[in-house]
Symmetry: C2
Subunit: 284 residues, 2 copies
Amino acid sequence: MKVNKYRDRVEEKLNDYLPKSGELADSIRYSVIDCGKRFRPILTYTIADIYKEDISLFDSSACAVELIHAYSLIHDDLPAMDDDDVRHSKPACHKEFSEAQAILTGDALQAFAFSIITNDNKIEQSIRLQCVQQLSNASYEMALGQAIDMSIMSRTVDIDILENMHSKKTGALLRCAVNLGATISTKCSPKDMRILDSFSKSIGLAYQIQDDVLDILVSEDVLGKKQNSDIEKNKPTYPSLLGMDNSQIMLNEYYDKAIDSLDKLSVDAERLINLTRKLQSRGF
Amino acid sequence: MKVNKYRDRVEEKLNDYLPKSGELADSIRYSVIDCGKRFRPILTYTIADIYKEDISLFDSSACAVELIHAYSLIHDDLPAMDDDDVRHSKPACHKEFSEAQAILTGDALQAFAFSIITNDNKIEQSIRLQCVQQLSNASYEMALGQAIDMSIMSRTVDIDILENMHSKKTGALLRCAVNLGATISTKCSPKDMRILDSFSKSIGLAYQIQDDVLDILVSEDVLGKKQNSDIEKNKPTYPSLLGMDNSQIMLNEYYDKAIDSLDKLSVDAERLINLTRKLQSRGF
């Protein structure tokens, strides 16, 4: 399975990119290195794989998307936000350092993500520009999604509001991870880009419903963060709106839809399908 | 004086760029529209002016640099950071809305700044890419500068540490405002770019020393934020290290040095000199 190879690669590249000394280097490395599922960069690399591209062209974007994800988790965990003390089975950034340092670490990581894409001279300028365009739009959407999430806490909402929130909060960056891969690949046609965009929308939704389900089913030591945190915060979730069984049916339907949408792709999508199935069976 | 024209222009363009509805639109507009001295975008526009360029090519960068500045103020004012309740003579973003919303408003503004540059189709792609490169580097430096600022609170430091902190916290973005203008101008030679970079370094330092001085001399109703906030927070400043008189001499020397450095510029720098003199005599 290539997933492990890609996970190792993103780890190595992040390690190379991130500052090794100076202000915030400790808190940046603490929050990024050796933690997280790396699902977003693995997606980007898998797109490179199915188009048989030179994988080194995808490093900066794969890492940048992971850094935007990492920054969002640091800010989401802050006391004023979701107030979570544990992340990746260790104290959250603001607990290990301070709230001020956690805010600045997130801020610095967001800027750094754009910086590493623009500085990647291996990639044609127009492509780099498109990548920054996509990533900045996704990062903006993500902040809006988190704002909706905060605003609906303890409120009764319908499934459309929940879906809108998640399509921004989680979906935008997942789609971006796929679209960055499709943008950098010279062999990915406009038709394939549309197919992959549709694929990424479906897995974005499936992934979030699954997160809601796992939050209830899985213990803290496996999850790496607090169990039942949604219920305790009175957050509307798919299980709270649809029930557990229907949520599980729904997430499997979205994963199936994602895989079905790959049928018409111009290249062999086996590795992307395998990754999706692996994701579908994830336990945390 | 063209300064007022540029101030009106950046106001109008920010108004056009920023979202008018949706999540965070209120707090984004509250924190950006009709407030601030707009010194950074005015600098960018003045570079366009001395090279007699089409000013509309500078709108996205002028606004982007102001948005990065605005986001940094929102985060700096947070209770976990400088804990300032008043900004631009009104409640700080986190007082008017909430801490969570202020964090997200800053996050969204940072992403939005990169987005408006990358989406500006009037500008050649390679230039847009350079602008994002410069702005992301400056934004990253700024976060490091604020981290130093937090770490030296209540500590005795020497003038080198103070200067390093300010060159990152305030200087990087001021330099960027000038360099963005120089980058977009097709008539600005590499030699002129070096001269302008040196000019911007000097005014960056002068500006910060002046901020420290004004914090002591000027009352809250003129300053638009709390007077003596540095002293109350036990922050090392130029006046606390060098005394008030020496600080004033030093800031004037830096302004003079900035103006002297423009002597060798290939174009008439009168408007840039006038702007610098205006800045030197600012009262808030």
